[in-house]
């Protein structure tokens, strides 16, 4: 039963990830990425980390991907076709990533095979993570809060530059 769930959602994750990479329309790509993240949340539940599965759904599929969709729709990219240029580089990209993947899977299946899990239950619920987070990881936690603040300020200054200033858009139009 567990194996059936694993293989079903592994197939879902891989297929939707392929749609993200291969589909021309970025809106379809973003929605497929949401589906792939949901399948990964199922993987997290199978790995006995239900708290992080909830975070995966709320933060990734809920917040980050909605940001992506907002930006895609804000920029009105649905009908922008991607012209095929640089075929040699594209071919090299496909072959390099194929060899990379084959090598990775080969060495993982050869050297990273663990036979047995250690005995005893593994508690990875919100309580355990919270205690660990505020005991040994308080300093990184505060650093992440400062980093998020810096990211907010940076995103505002970057994206509001040509909208907020009245003269900026005209000078941008002249430069084009």
């Amino acid at each position: 039963m567990e194996f059936a769930i694993f293989f079903l959602f592994a197939a879902v994750a891989v297929i939707f990830a392929l749609v993200v990479v291969l589909h021309r329309n970025p809106v379809v790509g973003a929605l497929s990425l949401v589906a792939s993240f949901f399948a990964l949340a199922v993987m997290y539940v199978l790995l006995e980390a239900p708290f992080l599965a909830a975070l995966q759904v709320i933060v990734y599929a809920g917040a980050i991907m909605v940001l992506f969709l907002f930006v895609i729709m804000l920029l009105n990219l649905q009908h922008v076709a991607e012209p095929v240029t640089r075929p040699v580089q594209q071919f090299l990209g496909y072959t390099t990533s194929a060899f990379f993947g084959i090598g990775l899977v080969y060495y993982l299946s050869k050297y990273a095979v663990f036979n047995a899990l250690p005995e005893g239950p593994f508690h990875a619920d919100a309580r355990t993570i919270g205690i660990k987070l505020f005991e040994s990881y308080v300093f990184p936690f505060e650093m992440v809060s400062i980093l998020l603040l810096a990211a907010i300020v940076g995103a505002l200054t970057l994206s509001a530059k040509s909208v907020g200033r009245p003269g900026a858009s005209e000078s941008g139009a002249e430069a084009r």
Partner: protein, 100 residues
């Protein structure tokens, strides 16, 4: 109980798909989504090893990676909005201001 290396191989496949997207696509937002895919593959690896070795540190790392991915997505998308305002495209071939 599903063995750990199943999860590792799934994670390797997802990471490879992400690498393929970064190397072959030209749409900036698609490249960004491929990077998110790679980040998630690494998260899966962290959780698989956390269960294998009964360590909570891997879970804490996934927590931090999620927070930093949120910051990265916000700043990266702001850069693409700025690029779109200046160039009217997010094709990364067009972003050649620092090109030699």
């Amino acid at each position: 109980m599903i063995p750990t290396h199943y999860f590792l191989i799934l994670s390797a496949l997802l990471f490879t798909i992400g690498v393929c997207g970064v190397l072959t696509r030209k749409n900036g937002i698609t490249i960004f989504m491929s990077i998110e895919l790679m980040v998630n593959a690494v998260n899966l690896t962290f959780l698989a090893y956390a269960r294998q070795f009964h360590q909570v540190h891997g879970l804490i790392f996934v927590f931090f990676i999620m927070a930093i991915a949120a910051a990265e997505a916000a700043v990266g998308l702001a850069i693409f909005i700025s690029l779109f305002h200046h160039r009217d495209t997010i094709d990364v071939d067009e972003a050649n201001l620092m090109h030699w």
